[in-house]
């Protein structure tokens, strides 16, 4: 399946791009992270501390074990700091 993957804040800076289309068969968000990390060092570095990473599937904040079936858009980012 094709998934739009988005990166924000320092995750975007470390990976070096704001978004990309990924062809993947990953079952969960965590599986997608493992797949990306195996691809290139910059992903492995960016995702090295998953306690500092939050994820959203189709614009809803979700836990990392969330299934990806039917997902169109997955986003990764650090804890939010709005307000």
């Amino acid at each position: 399946m094709k998934i739009e993957v988005l990166y924000f804040a320092w995750l975007r800076e470390r990976i070096g791009l704001p978004r990309e289309t990924v062809e993947t068969e990953a079952a969960t968000v965590a599986d997608l992270v493992a797949e990306l990390s195996a691809r290139e060092d910059r992903y492995a570095v960016a995702f090295s501390d998953m306690s500092a990473i939050r994820a959203a599937v189709d614009q809803d904040l979700v836990p990392l074990d969330t299934a990806l079936s039917g997902a169109r858009e997955v986003a990764f980012f650090p804890p939010m700091t709005g307000g």
């Binding site: 924000f8 804040a9 614009q59 980012f77 804890p79 939010m80």
Partner: protein, 146 residues
Amino acid sequence: MRIVVQEQDFSAAEETADFGKGPDVGAVVTFSGIVRDLPDDPLQQMVIEHYPGMTEKALTKIAQEASARWDLRDVLVIHRYGALSPGEQIMMVATAARHRAQAFEAAEYLMDYLKSRAPFWKKEVTAASADWVDAKDSDEAALDRW
């Protein structure tokens, strides 16, 4: 209910001029967040990144939850993104309710959730550095009271 996510500045006075009008409203609370300067290394810019689409969705959800929980008669959330200077407004919330406790609690709830659950990220740019602001454990802990 009104949710605004925009780059440009806003007028708190205009936004609240007609806010919460109604026979039932006895209390209106507003909160405004402003870019503070940094004491040692003067801030040049506060850059706010956001996640277009998810931001509006998350803010709407937070505002709807506050409205239901505190029986609000009106609620307003405005949040800017982009490069801001010290002294500029970052955001504001406003709540209108029958009684003061409802309006105060709902405004604090909105702020606590907005801070940790709406997809905004702040970067502080000075002459010497450009650092993403770390989320505080106390911000996450603040959610436990609700």
